[in-house]
């Protein structure tokens, strides 16, 4: 018996009569004739082993809900996880706008039919520009790791030097991304040297930095705030040393801190970068990251950006805004030899969302959120350090994260976190493998989403975890 062909809702011409009429129009009687240009032996004649389809919409929804239902979330659990992805408050208008179908499904249309998209992305760059106090940004990158890696390659293209200095406290994941990106054939193009830090404060060891600074250093890279949460209080001096050696000073920062912390541009950064997922984006299991690079208005830098830049211009109609692509062909700056890496689809929708967030927050909102974060974080750190057996590892002030040391409790972070889970708490990221010198330590992240009772609950649960 001939099986009735399925008509798929997303494949409208699978309606048999339509399909037949179209096949007739193109002169085939069997669909496989459409593929006559593919040699027979290169065709796949078997049937793909994929699960039986769930055809109706109710059932796929239910199936997926059951699948996602297997996950615990930071909604029902109290989470203190950070380390590059942090829980921040997401205004409803952010979700509203990035749920707009037009933005969700647009791509590479030109500036007339897609005027709105170009303006929204131009505004993202402009709003970030104010936050960073810098004039130049390009469209976004995949994430902060990519931004860091590209910033360092930019530095290399600018001064043609082959070494970069990074803090040993740097995010290990970003380090791996940078390492792969700076690699080359047959040998690494750019050498990466880790600079030591003070075990008590986390701050960069300036002597080690000075010993490594020479005329072959292309860039000095720091994170401020650091991956480990502390504020690099020596940032200005590090920047000065870098620039004196003729190197670029690349600062990786957290944009949500910039309502209360100074923009890197104003303490010497020549290139600033980071991840903007903290601006109006959800956790999304790591899928809501986005990278940015910012510099001053100097052709030396502008001509080294690898990604598209939208420039404001006018149109044939008087009084109308238009947008053009900013190119660098006529500049005499920039590496004439080396191509500027590659570009492609990255995180446009998230950038628009970050723009919406900054529009909603305004200067006061940014100042308030930064203040709340620091207050909550300091409160948590204070209370935790008062617990017997627990120690806040680094003495430097932090922004939203700090390292908690559990060595004196005799318990491992894994054990502590397991116990916390019973309280429906996700404890801080286990650092014992990444930073063995800190023993059994974890990175705790506290933001504006945590309320007093949450922090008290954490302290209570930790107390229990330690004593049992």
């Amino acid at each position: 018996m001939h099986k009735k062909p399925i008509v798929y809702p997303y494949i409208p011409n699978s309606v048999p009569e339509i399909k037949e009429a179209m096949m007739k129009e193109v002169g085939v009687t069997d669909p496989m004739q459409l593929y006559e240009e593919i040699p027979e032996h290169l065709k796949y004649h078997k049937e793909m082993q994929l699960p039986k389809p769930i055809l109706d919409e109710y059932s796929i929804r239910r199936h997926t809900e059951e699948l996602l239902g297997k996950n615990k979330t930071c909604g029902e659990h109290l989470s203190f996880l950070g380390a590059g992805c942090a829980q921040h408050f997401v205004p409803a208008v952010c979700d509203e706008i990035n749920g707009r179908g037009e933005f969700l499904t647009a791509y590479v249309g030109e500036s007339m039919g897609d005027h709105g998209k170009w303006q929204a992305l131009f505004e993202y760059c402009s709003l970030m520009g104010e936050l960073m106090d810098m004039d130049i940004l390009s469209i976004p990158m995949y994430d902060g790791g990519q931004a860091a890696a590209s910033s360092l390659r930019m530095a290399n293209r600018i001064n043609d030097r082959k070494k970069v200095l990074v803090p040993a406290t740097m995010s290990p994941d970003i380090f791996l991304i940078v390492q792969n990106y700076l690699n080359s054939v047959p040998a690494p193009e750019i050498q990466i040297v880790k600079i030591g830090f003070d075990a008590n404060t986390g701050l960069m060891d300036l002597n080690d930095l000075k010993n490594n600074l020479s005329t072959d250093v292309s860039a000095v890279f720091i994170e401020n705030p650091s991956y480990l949460g502390f504020i690099e209080t020596q940032a200005e001096e590090i920047g000065k040393l870098a620039r004196e050696a003729g190197a670029e000073f690349v600062v990786y920062t957290d944009p949500i801190s910039l309502g209360v912390m100074e923009a890197p541009a104003n303490y010497g950064a020549t290139i600033a970068c980071g991840d903007f997922h903290t601006l109006g984006l959800h956790l999304g299991a790591g899928g809501c990251q986005g990278g940015f690079i910012a510099t001053h208005d100097d052709m030396k830098y502008i001509s080294e950006f690898k990604d598209l830049m939208f420039g404001l211009t006018d149109t044939m109609q008087e009084g109308e805004w238009g947008f053009g692509e900013v190119l660098f062909d006529r500049t005499s700056y920039g590496s004439r030899d080396k191509g500027k890496e590659f570009t492609g689809t990255s995180t446009g929708l998230w950038a628009i969302t970050a723009g919406v967030y900054l529009s909603l927050m305004g200067p006061q909102g940014m100042q308030e959120v930064g203040t709340t974060i620091m207050q909550n974080c300091q409160y948590a750190a204070k209370k935790i350090s008062e617990l017997p057996g627990l120690k806040v590892q680094l003495s430097s002030p932090g922004f939203k994260e700090f390292v908690v040391n559990f060595d004196m409790t005799g318990k491992s972070v894994a054990q502590i976190n397991k116990h916390l889970l019973e309280f429906k708490i996700f404890g801080g990221k286990d650092l014992s493998i990444e930073f063995p010198q800190f023993g059994q330590s974890a990175l705790y992240c506290v933001t504006e989403v945590h309320q007093h009772k949450d922090l008290d609950k954490l302290v209570y649960a930790l107390q229990g975890a330690v004593s049992c």
Partner: protein, 520 residues
């Protein structure tokens, strides 16, 4: 008052809001959203918090962000969204090579609203996010089956990123073999530009092959380029012209013969699911754009995913962590000492993976094949109609069937009327259709336009599109100025500078613009 159903939307007009910049809407004192403040108890114990920041690192001048109330922020971005032609509102046939298919709303809502993805932190204990890991694992298994490859990574954040990761893997492979002489990668002129740019970024010298009159390079050219310095070949097939390159197998054999690897850029895989696989063609690596072939939306240029697949012997080099299954649970494994490391923080764009999962689950093997067949059928039907439009020329492969897209040329139209592809591309939005994709550079095919009527579009959609192009062609012959001065009904008009490269004219942020304006 009867109204007849029209084929062309000649009454269409895009929203044109004369929308100011958000900065121009600022009213000092207005608030868009209020922020949670630390409670009194906390404040009394830690003070203002910010005093902990050393003075020289304290923000001295508040960022000059605009102050706009919430209703106006919402309205502003709504206006901008109305001035954007996403596939939800227009015929995405225009963007050839981008595979603008319908992103089912059931998937979109799930990814954007379900707390089981939205509120999950990627560093949670694997036991607490088994659902997420299952998604990654299962999608990997699906893609393995679709391509024939042995292992996948879903970490790269876009197609080009995927190709870059493949180039990194090729680099790592040869270095592990102790061969430091493999410094070259070969690609073709019609492959995606990232097939040249990404290996270049990875440090390789790149050799590009030119097409001959068939539309793809001669085998002799490939052989002349291959040597013991070749690390790999990276090519797209079918290429952006929509022509399937039957020599692909010969290239692969020739490349393998000199010890080079073969990487398959499958950005154009939509017409081939269930019909042709990377494995049988002999490839060692491949990649798919999940936001093209597998229905995740394009999001104004992302988020996206370039899923990369490799044969077993290259698995050790894949980025970490890998999602694995021990028979009972899903886990994350970073114990791959030869891995290239990471190309992205965490493990991938989970929302894109979720949508891919749901789409494949709704179709199954038969449905994927049906999607492929209908996209090719759509394209061949479409091509026949477009070819009949005055002024259109189709280069290469005369009389041969193309796969899921075609690169056309307005060469004749330009010669006859002076109206070229850039002009037609501006007039097309006057009919509610988004700007089409011309071609990557360089324009080997003159006055190009590349269209891809994937399986999401029904016959009426195709007929509408053809009717619009036919109309514009007619206008070019009858009244070329109408086309040359278009668009007339879009959100904005032709920019005076589509390409800006004089330093004085560059304004990539509002503040830069204001500074320059102040100077002038």
């Amino acid at each position: 008052m009867a109204r007849q159903k029209k084929l062309l939307r000649d009454n269409y007009h895009q929203a044109r809001w004369d929308e100011p910049m958000i900065f121009e809407m600022s009213v000092p004192g207005e608030r868009g959203v209020l922020v949670p403040l630390a409670c009194e108890n906390i404040v009394s114990q830690v003070g203002d918090g910010v005093s902990a920041i050393p003075a020289n690192l304290r923000r001295k001048k508040a960022p000059a962000l605009p102050e706009v109330n919430q209703m106006r922020v919402n309205r502003h971005y709504y206006h901008l969204s109305q001035e954007t032609l996403g596939t939800d509102v227009t015929l995405g046939i225009s963007e050839g090579t981008c595979t603008m298919k319908y992103s089912p709303k059931v998937q979109e809502h799930m990814a954007a609203r379900h707390p089981g993805i939205v509120d999950v932190h990627p560093l949670q204990e694997p036991d607490t996010m088994q659902g997420i890991l299952e998604l990654y694992y299962k999608v990997e298994q699906f893609l393995k089956e679709i391509s024939g490859m042995d292992a996948f990574s879903l970490q790269p954040g876009g197609g080009a990123h995927g190709v870059f990761t493949n180039a990194s893997i090729i680099r790592a492979y040869h270095r592990a073999r102790g061969d430091n002489n493999r410094t070259e990668i070969i690609t073709t002129m019609f492959s995606h530009p990232c097939d040249a740019a990404t290996p270049n970024t990875a440090g390789f010298k790149v050799i590009t092959l030119m097409p001959d009159e068939s539309g793809y390079p001669d085998l002799e050219a490939m052989k002349a380029a291959l040597s013991d310095k070749t690390a790999g070949i990276m090519i797209t097939n079918p290429e952006d012209t929509g022509i399937y390159n039957p020599r692909i197998e010969e290239y692969v054999k020739a490349a393998h013969a000199v010890g080079a690897l073969c990487s398959y850029d499958q950005a154009n895989a939509n017409g081939m699911m269930g019909i042709h696989r990377a494995r049988e063609a002999g490839f060692d690596l491949c990649h798919f754009n999940l936001h093209k072939t597998f229905s995740a939306p394009h999001g104004c240029m992302g988020p996206a995913t370039g899923a990369i697949g490799v044969k077993e012997f290259l698995k050790p080099f894949l980025p970490v962590p890998r999602v694995e299954f021990d028979g009972q649970k899903y886990l994350l494994n970073s114990n791959y000492p030869e891995s290239v490391g990471k190309v992205r923080t965490f493990f991938g764009n989970t929302n894109v993976i979720l949508k891919t999962y749901m789409w494949i689950m709704q179709h199954g093997a038969e449905g994927l094949k049906e999607a492929a067949i209908c996209s090719v059928l759509n394209n061949q039907y479409f091509m026949k109609k477009i070819a009949e439009i005055p002024g259109v020329v189709i280069w290469y492969a005369k009389g041969k069937r193309r796969l899921e897209q075609v690169r056309y040329s307005w060469e004749k139209l330009k010669q006859d009327t002076g109206v070229g592809t850039d002009d037609v591309n501006k007039r097309i939005v006057d009919f509610g259709i988004e700007h089409y994709w011309t071609s990557h550079h360089p324009w080997v095919v003159p006055e190009p336009f590349t269209l891809e009527p994937c399986e999401s579009y029904n016959k009426e959609d195709l007929d509408e599109y053809v009717a619009v192009l036919k109309q514009i062609s007619k206008e070019a012959y009858d009244d070329p100025n109408l086309v040359k001065s278009a668009p007339h009904k879009a959100a904005s008009h032709r920019p005076t500078h589509e390409a800006i490269d004089e330093a004085e004219l560059i304004a990539v942020t509002w503040r830069q613009y204001l500074k320059k304006k102040g100077k002038k």
